[in-house]
């Protein structure tokens, strides 16, 4: 159902989407994800769901090097393991209580994840990462349109959100960011207006 190819790295956020103390929420192939940074700057990508009662982690809070669930304030460390349960402060937390951790890589100003991705994320030319443009079309049709009519001056990466929507991120290869952004918006209009 996810339409994700195992072994492939997908860009799920720009690095600038993840300031300190923020929990960034996104989707990849129908999977809800939460991304956050620990104090060392490392990025963590988890299933956006506390294993205790299913509340989205993205509702929660970053406390130092831990993510705290908003429902019962259970804390989860960088490895995803639960470290503290305030309702039972003396409990040695069982190792089975663990967030579902996704692979993560940083490159080209982007945060990458995927299902058992192999190797390194794709090499991209240097340039500024533009704002994410969501398009209400499946990734396959966006990719198809880009093959038919490539956009010049831009390197593009696609994030399939689910079967109906895709985020396009552009890396501007020159300094004309406005033109590059307009090109992406025009792409969105063209695709969403197409029957």
């Amino acid at each position: 159902m996810s339409g994700l190819q195992p072994g492939v790295w997908y860009a799920i956020a720009a690095e600038h989407d993840l300031p300190k103390d923020h929990v960034y929420r996104t989707m990849l192939g129908g999977h809800e994800l939460a991304a956050w940074r620990s104090t060392d700057g490392a990025v963590h990508v988890w299933e956006d769901r506390c294993p205790h009662r299913g509340v989205r982690f993205s509702l929660g809070e970053v406390v130092g090097d831990e993510l705290r669930c908003q429902y019962h304030a259970w804390r989860f460390g960088k490895t995803g393991a639960c470290t503290f349960i305030p309702a039972q402060p003396d409990l040695k937390v069982p190792r089975t209580i663990h967030a579902a951790v996704w692979p993560v890589a940083l490159s080209a100003g982007l945060v990458w994840s995927g299902i058992e991705p192999t190797g390194a994320p794709p090499e991209l030319p240097p340039g500024a990462v533009l704002r994410a443009i969501p398009i209400a079309r499946a990734a396959a049709s966006v990719a198809h349109a880009l093959v038919k009519e490539p956009l010049s001056g831009l390197a593009l990466v696609l994030q399939p959100l689910d079967e109906t929507a895709t985020i396009v991120r552009g890396i501007a290869l020159d300094d004309d960011l406005v033109r590059a952004d307009h090109a992406l918006l025009a792409l969105r209009r063209r695709l969403e207006q197409a029957a």
């Binding site: 205790h52 989205r56 304030a73 305030p86 039972q88 209580i97």
Partner: protein, 288 residues
């Protein structure tokens, strides 16, 4: 389409509060996926109609309008305390919530969230430890949790200081629960709060809280406002639970000892074979 759960289909559910009905405007709502129209005449007569079918069984009690879509197999939920003369019923108001009915009930039973979701009202950091309590089955079905204790900074509008509050929780019907809570003034008597959930669809609900509190000088408006504040703190949590339907399989979520009443509630729903608003133990979890 999922066949509608016979347990809920043949039970009574609130679909409106009398105090919120307006003669100038029909009240449109939904019960178990069935659209309903509730009207009130200038003389106060209430009628519930189905668009596609003869009028369903209907009645009024505790300030709420109740409907049974099937064949009633039992009475409307009895609340004996509603007959006590010194206990006025306060209808808190109906609150829509994008969560399944069982998730809403389970949250009401939950002690561990009080110090965080209701911080400075019903609990507070660092008094977040859930002390051991007892959960037992009720003879007529359902569960009861006793000896629940929680330190509460502001247990009710009348509370002037924090104190250790004793609670008893009961679930007598799959979508009706209540708590007995020591009154902040008459500490040897209980205030009672009911939460009755109208199952709208499998993943949406309308909560109908009722207060049966001993008069302590708090106006009904203040009681209502307090309870609405509390519910509004729960609503974003409930609407961010994934999956929306309550998973009943052991191990689907990870309870600890403090979650004993949740475990008992889920097991009871499994045992009676409830299918609405839950992911049954034998069903593979559908995507959220």
């Amino acid at each position: 389409m999922t066949p509608v759960d016979p347990i809920l289909w043949n039970d009574w559910h609130p679909v409106a509060a009398r105090c919120m009905l307006d003669p100038a405007r029909a009240h449109e709502t939904m019960l178990l996926g069935v659209p309903l129209v509730v009207t009130i005449n200038a003389d106060g007569t209430i009628a519930v109609q189905r668009v596609d079918h003869a009028a369903p069984h209907q009645d009024e009690r505790y300030g709420l309008v109740w409907v049974c879509l099937g064949t009633p197999t039992r009475e409307i939920l009895p609340i004996p305390e509603a007959d006590e003369p010194d206990r006025p019923i306060v209808v808190v108001g109906s609150v829509g919530v994008r969560a399944s009915g069982p998730r809403v009930i389970e949250n009401f039973l939950d002690l561990g969230h009080l110090g965080y979701v209701h911080a400075r009202y019903l609990g507070d950091d660092p008094h977040t430890r859930v002390l051991p309590y007892t959960v037992e089955p009720l003879p007529e079905g359902g569960i009861i949790a006793t000896q629940c204790k929680m330190f509460q900074p502001q247990a009710s509008p009348a509370a002037t200081e924090g104190f250790m509050v004793d609670y008893i929780y009961k679930v007598e019907r799959p979508l009706a629960t209540c708590l007995y809570k020591a009154n902040p003034v008459q500490r040897d008597r209980f205030d009672i709060i009911f939460l009755i959930v109208q199952p709208v669809t499998e993943e949406t609900s309308i909560a109908h809280p009722l207060l049966l509190c001993l008069p302590d000088g708090t106006t009904p408006a203040a009681l209502r406002a307090f309870q609405q504040t509390i519910f509004m703190q729960d609503k974003p949590i409930l609407e961010n639970q994934v999956p929306k339907r309550l998973p009943l399989a052991d191990g689907a979520e990870l309870p600890i000892a403090a979650d004993k009443s949740s475990v008992a509630y889920r097991r009871w729903l499994s045992a009676i074979g409830l299918t609405w608003g839950v992911i049954r133990a034998d069903e593979k979890a559908r995507a959220a």
